[in-house]
């Protein structure tokens, strides 16, 4: 198991007026190769939860084990935990600091104590992995476009070669093209075998990418399952302040009106397939009766 959380609770500022319990008895296991989408209303504890996954926060009670290493155990080498679980914060470009992109990307691997040649190898690999050209290596990270800076920050974490990549809202604040590029990049990393945990407000993105969806509400895990099952539970999701993907809502509405659709779609592509199939079926049905209705229904 990659990451195991057992009965994890977390309290911010204990013993002060600002005391706040952000996580309540969360038990969760992230298995190798999974793509977990973590969703929940704002303030539900997503960011707090993901910071437990690489030992940045230690549970107030309960236990977190990362590849067998207990993050609360003082003997655990947290640098090793952080090497295996890479965490990309929200707006990661705000953490850029170095004079050049090359230095920026070398920061993580250098902290791991790797030899300079290995560091250089990883810098180049990470830059390629995020789809940027080597001509950027000598540029200042502060001179890059928003999307480029985001990808450099992501590469800075990838350069540590983690087994698990945890991303907190990686597409927030990007234009549609930038969004697309970042999500495609994450999809590719997963295809190449990386375990992914993706925090997102976008049900569409989660439906399209995740193999498993975990829903947080007020610091508790309230749903956990395959996106196909979970996104059918519109009412429950709505009660948690979340909306099912539009595609799922569409096919369910059509089905409720008696359309012959399976009502399984959660992504736009799947919805298009269901609706097209239904229209084709209808056309076939009507054709024997003659006339041009079938043709019109297809428009």
């Amino acid at each position: 198991m990659s990451i195991e959380l057992e009965h994890v609770s977390y309290v911010y500022n204990p013993g002060t007026p600002a005391q706040w319990q952000a996580l309540r008895d969360v038990s969760l296991t992230i298995r190798p190769g999974e793509f977990v989408g973590l969703i929940g209303a704002t303030g539900s504890g997503k960011s707090t939860l993901v910071q437990h996954m690489n030992g940045l926060l230690r549970p107030t009670s309960g236990r977190v084990r990362v590849f067998g290493m207990d993050t609360s155990d003082p003997r655990t080498d947290l640098t090793r935990v952080r090497q295996r679980v890479g965490l990309v914060f929200q707006y990661p470009e705000h953490q850029l600091f170095a004079a050049t992109v090359a230095e920026e990307l070398a920061y993580g691997p250098t902290n791991l104590g790797l030899a300079p040649e290995e560091v250089q190898r990883r810098v180049r690999w990470a830059l390629r992995a995020v789809g940027l050209g080597e001509e950027l290596l000598t540029r200042s990270p502060f001179s890059l476009s928003g999307g480029q800076a985001r990808r450099v920050a992501l590469a800075g974490v990838l350069a540590m070669r983690p087994d698990v990549l945890v991303l907190d809202e990686p597409a927030a604040g990007l234009d549609p093209l930038g969004r697309r590029e970042i999500l495609d990049l994450i999809r590719n990393l997963h295809r190449e075998g990386m375990t992914i945990v993706l925090v997102s407000h976008s049900m569409e993105d989660v439906a399209e990418l995740a193999t498993r969806v975990v829903v947080l509400d007020q610091g508790r895990v309230v749903m956990d399952g395959p996106p196909r099952e979970l996104f059918r539970r519109h009412r429950e999701l709505a009660a948690l302040g979340l909306a099912a993907p539009v595609a799922a809502q569409l096919v369910d509405a059509l089905k409720a009106r008696g359309w012959p659709v399976p009502g399984q779609a959660v992504t736009i592509r799947e919805a298009v397939a269901e609706v097209t199939a239904a229209l084709a079926a209808r056309r076939r049905e009507r054709r024997p009766e003659g006339g041009r209705e079938g043709g019109r229904a297809g428009v």
């Binding site: 500022n13 890479g86 914060f89 705000h94």
Partner: protein, 266 residues
């Protein structure tokens, strides 16, 4: 992110919370001056009594107040030890050239008590007054000096902005620190040069963030028509109530008591 740890305000609706900030600022000033006029033990009953009264009127748990003393603990110890060893008098305990005297212990104790009371009362001011009310109060108190060229409104605005953004920048620093820790940052390293270098990945993004926020704030203020303090009206007007009368009386009685004891002692 907005959390309520702005300054160190302790939310509440006690008597002291509702006293006008101007009154509280002036009362704290008077107390801080008069506490240094007190020399004789009877006077200490008076200053301690006033502090206890103020604590009771604030309804803040004593434990919270005591916890606020932690940062000055080291000063207390030094004050006490310094006086205990350095004051000549009847020896209680000696070791080599060092001796603790009865007079030294008594004097050191009083000095430490004075320090404790001073910190307690000033922290009551910040605990029961929101930073915004505090700057409002300061601005009103400084307004008479505007004629002498003191930019009271600008000073108050600067203080408000600083107070408002200290916790924000603190949050930001924490976030950046965590982000760099996720990349394996080590902060405890040997040697001053290495230490500086280890801090750069935190400081550079923090400065960038501070400038970004300053820019955003300037634009936001201009967009809302801010053009300096002149002629600006306020949403919350400060008003004196009966509570301010009571407080003023208590402070006056305290001050008179201290002066009386001073005169009595000659």
């Amino acid at each position: 992110m907005f959390n309520i740890t702005l300054g160190q305000y302790y939310p509440g609706r006690s008597f002291l919370h509702q006293v006008d900030p101007r009154t509280k600022i002036l009362a704290t000033l008077v107390y801080s001056v008069f506490i240094f006029l007190v020399k004789e033990p009877e006077g200490f009953y008076l200053v301690a009594g006033f502090a206890l009264l103020a604590m009771a009127a604030s309804r803040i748990p004593p434990l919270t107040l005591i916890r606020g003393l932690r940062p000055i603990l080291i000063f207390l110890v030094i004050t006490l030890a310094f006086n205990a060893f350095m004051t000549p008098g009847e020896t209680l305990w000696g070791w080599g050239p060092f001796r603790v005297t009865r007079e030294g212990l008594a004097f050191g104790g009083l000095m430490a008590l004075r320090l404790v009371l001073l910190v307690l009362v000033t922290s009551l001011l910040t605990l029961t007054t929101t930073p915004i009310a505090l700057t409002d109060g300061l601005e009103r108190l400084l307004r008479p000096f505007q004629r002498l060229g003191l930019p009271a409104a600008e000073l108050a605005l600067m203080m408000t902005i600083a107070l408002r953004f200290v916790p924000t920048l603190f949050d930001e620093a924490q976030r950046i620190l965590r982000a760099q820790q996720a990349r394996g940052a080590r902060l405890r390293v040997r040697g001053p040069l290495a230490q500086m270098q280890a801090l750069l990945p935190i400081l550079v993004p923090l400065f960038v963030a501070a400038f970004r926020r300053a820019d955003e704030l300037a634009v936001a203020m201009e967009a809302r028509g801010y053009r300096g303090g002149r002629g600006r009206t306020r949403m919350r007007e400060l008003r004196y109530t009966w509570r301010d009368g009571v407080t003023a009386l208590a402070v006056a009685a305290f001050a008179a008591g201290v002066v009386y004891l001073r005169l009595l002692a000659g």
